[in-house]
Subunit: 335 residues, 4 copies
């Protein structure tokens, strides 16, 4: 069986998914692409020989040979497009977050359930080789019973303040990935305490957000953990995890464009800074998440990141925001 | 000038200080040693050719040629011995903590003030070459304005439960060092939130303590930080710090008995585990803190770790305990 | 301009090149593929939608729209196919080595010269990001004047003895890459001394070859260096270089499938062994060398690895073999 | 039993040994010290409370309570002082090399044999924790059968040319340590090929020496190895070994004054350069070699570095010099 995708969204992340499908997944291809910006859809169609391009997402979804849809359009369209795809009987791979409102998410998930199609959410970091190896260390008992978790997740620089203003805030825009990583590694969280501040750029504070956060997580299994977020690590994208348990620990380092060290009269140093941002750093994970989705559809197996996995981090972001605003621990059950 | 020390306490840490003075500080020596356990005092006296040994700490302090006292006896004696030494006009190097009660600490510090002698508290980790280098990186502007701090401080194994029962709890017994390290690196703390649990050994819980803690610190300068404590890291003593700021970060790795890596068909691995515990790990720091004290006395300069530096971590431990018990952030000003 | 390739050879390395062209070089494509084994050619043609497949290399080369040829067939065909492609006026990318005999190489290079086409030899390691970064460190003056070079190049396991018997020996089959790397980094070599032995498998010795070698190189610029070869590194493919000069040194580590370290009660270790062999280890370099070739053709610029660069390592292998057989240093001018 | 040492030589290395004995070996002490430069002997005597100081080495050796002698005087005195100490019935710890002439060495060793005293040669690097761990990896079978060895041994800067002129040349002055390390790790060497040049400073060439060397060693067990020497590594003292065998490899990194990494907008780097030279780098080994000697004497056990171990590296240096001068491999049996 070949899986035929409709791709909705021909922007940056849409292109990443198109390349993954067309060059790394022999058993899948993209047969239609839709984007409000028709020339963008057309350009992508030409690059990969995609037969149908359109500005109308429904047209792309409803092509007769389409089995599944990749939703890579703007966040506010995720939920309605999920519903459209589900109603058309297409399996769905959707970028995170599903929506900012829990009620919207729930409506979309209900449509998926009703249609009986598969839905996978694009938490790609789970498929990064290092984080997948850490997960495997936990599951394989290499660290014993989980006790402590640290996630360090710092961007190389903040997005434009105009974007921050509409982003929903750092917990929804940035920490959402780390909330998912925490659940991926240590399971469900019961309580969150968020500290933070405006240390990178006062304009971010004026836009109503913070740019630096330290979040304490209490897990259902008794373990505890922290997430460290900064909008600006001057040395580049900083993406590290450490898990610690009764029998050991596992942690990763950042990735570099080369494996070279230079020593001279002044310093002993890496020859290059870490990979600068997510498209380079997580390159392999974008391929792997779609490969996993295709496998789940082809083999009719459960998807590795469910709609529920897409919903819970939104709840966690809400709890973190409450915690920060009121400076007290907030239980997820309060949300 | 040669500085003549009286050493009070001939136990484990007393021996460490004796060796430091007698082998690494040419301008100082120990001229009297006191211990309740007279044979212990006698044995140490013989090893280093110390002329006077006694079970009576006052006798050791009051020897005519004594300029300064090292207090390395049990914690409950620190404050009274400080007072005795101050009244005798001796400069004082005292192990931490000064006392468990703030009022007791304050009485001792008042006696020191009145006598006009110098008092240095034994927060040796400040003198570890790696932590000193990180401090230098901060002070030298290498990381810019401080934003985030992480201290990981895990013991290789818990002390006997009998000890834990009288230790005052993990915040007073173990985190106290990390509270000092936090202040050393980022300055004063205003608010503390402590999460924790009994994950290592239920007997520790039965003794009324916890064995795992994650503490959030809010600094006066706006930075935020965490302390991670575990009573048991199976791979050995884990002592790491990461500081992050507007212009960069600095962090240290653990220390190992050799610098060897072995690769075989199964793994690429360090040839040895990290240095197992504090006497090996912090060996250099014990020498360096006494060298600094001797220098301060000889040059009549300020000591690098003051009585106040000994008092504040006790306040922080009190705040952490309150925070843990009530599951809310606690300001130091509440204590 | 789009560059249209004929691909000769649909085996392992042919597939690597096909994937590189079809997925990573938008300005190039493969329009014909030839292989003695017609089903292999057909299968590759189907995977990438290549319109022409054939068992006849001339047919593939002579397709009207073909601009350039990739020669990835067996070594003995390299020289005749270079001649055929040159006569057809096609630019040529050819796997190493050109041939085992210098006279054969010279005939092929003469045909290329006469035809005025470009010829690039597939010394892919030059395009590895780490080795390219080391080259850049040398050229940028980061290490000053070159003094010393070390190349460690160990395979994860020996090829079948049947292959070794016809391979021309370790210097031609394995060290050839390292001879090129030495020239790439430090320039021309004047004299070679080769020590070696049969330490991995006596059957290799019975086949008339050695499996372990240490080669000393004296460079024209006065620098000296070594190449370390073993047919079997039990921990995996070991590919490292260290360059040392008047102002510093540069070196690389091996590459790993993840960036994870695991610590437990027994060891602190990498979570995985190094990438096992050349297809994984040098993945990026295969893309990059073809990108460079396409750029050279499209921009009519010099190719980065010339026919002469293909010839000299064969001379070096001959000198090394002489040196090993007679246990004396051999000058390249003797060959 | 307490071992009473006479120390001959109160210069740099004599002081290192004095400190080791007086502060780290409770069962030994120095009871007399001799130096041509009487004030130097007096000063050392005062520092450590050594009762006898003299300009006459015989007087120091012949003190009635002396059991053993440390010879740390200039190289030309080693052999005659060994003979004097042996005739006085003292056990002997002697700095390397014993002498520059084999006949002189043999006379001294004969005197030792005749007197039936113990003689240990000061090849301290064997006692470095990292090299000792590598040796243990070999002996414990962690790397299997030895195949390949690399020793990198580069000084931070050359000695004065006046010294080089009388030093006997790089192979005798510098490589001698590495020849011993090679034997320590892989056993006896049968043949040596030495390449080298004047790359650091032309003045060294004018003084009749070279400053850069690459030496190939063929071991009796079939393994092969290299030694890399440079008189000047701009980043500091570079002391590394890699051993490779049928079941794995072991290697060490350089040592640093701290374990800190700093990341900023320009580089990710070690916070400090490697330990600069041998007194810092090999500090622990100086203590350990004397501890081993004292143990051998007290327990009447074999010494770990024998007179023969002192002789063979001189033969190796001679072979290396012949090899370099005639540009051909030289067997040790030729010397």
């Amino acid at each position: 069986m070949t899986l035929n995708f409709a791709l909705i969204g021909a922007g940056r992340i849409g292109k990443v998914h198109a390349q993954a499908v067309m060059t790394a997944i022999p058993e899948a291809r993209i047969v239609s692409v839709a984007d409000n910006d028709l020339p963008a859809a057309q350009s992508l169609a030409q690059t990969y020989g995609i037969p149908v391009f359109t500005h109308n997402h429904l047209e792309a979804i409803q092509q007769a040979d389409v089995n599944a849809v990749i939703i890579a359009s703007s966040t506010d369209t995720h939920a309605p497009f999920i519903i459209d795809a589900a109603r058309a009987g297409r399996h769905i791979f959707c970028e995170k977050p599903i929506a900012a409102q829990l009620s919207t998410i729930d409506t979309a998930l209900a449509a998926v359930d009703q249609a009986g199609v598969k839905l996978q959410i694009g938490f790609n970091r789970r498929f990064d080789p290092s984080f997948a190896r850490i997960k495997q260390a936990i599951e394989g008992g290499e660290i014993g019973i989980p006790h402590l978790l640290h996630i360090i997740s710092r961007d190389p620089g903040p997005p434009p303040v105009a974007y921050i203003r509409v982003s929903g805030g750092i917990f929804f825009d940035m920490t959402i990935h780390d909330f998912d990583m925490a659940r991926f590694l240590f399971g469900d969280v019961e309580e969150i305490y968020a500290a933070g501040g405006v240390l990178v750029d006062p304009a971010i504070g004026e836009a109503g957000d913070i740019d630096t956060a330290l979040i304490t997580l209490k897990f259902a299994n008794g373990a505890i953990g922290t997430i460290d977020n900064s909008r600006k690590a001057i040395y580049g994208y900083d993406q590290r995890v450490e898990v610690f348990g009764s029998r050991g620990s596992a942690s990763n380092t950042n990735l570099y464009p080369d494996a070279v060290t230079i020593s001279d009269g002044a310093t002993v140093r890496r020859a290059s800074l870490p990979l600068n941002f997510f498209l380079e750093r997580y390159q392999e994970s974008y391929r792997a998440e779609l490969q996993a989705f295709v496998r789940a559809v082809v083999e009719d197996a459960p998807v590795p990141v469910t709609g529920q996995d897409g919903r819970v981090p939104v709840v966690m972001a809400m709890a973190a925001k409450q915690s920060y605003l009121h400076n007290r621990p907030v239980r997820l059950s309060e949300i």
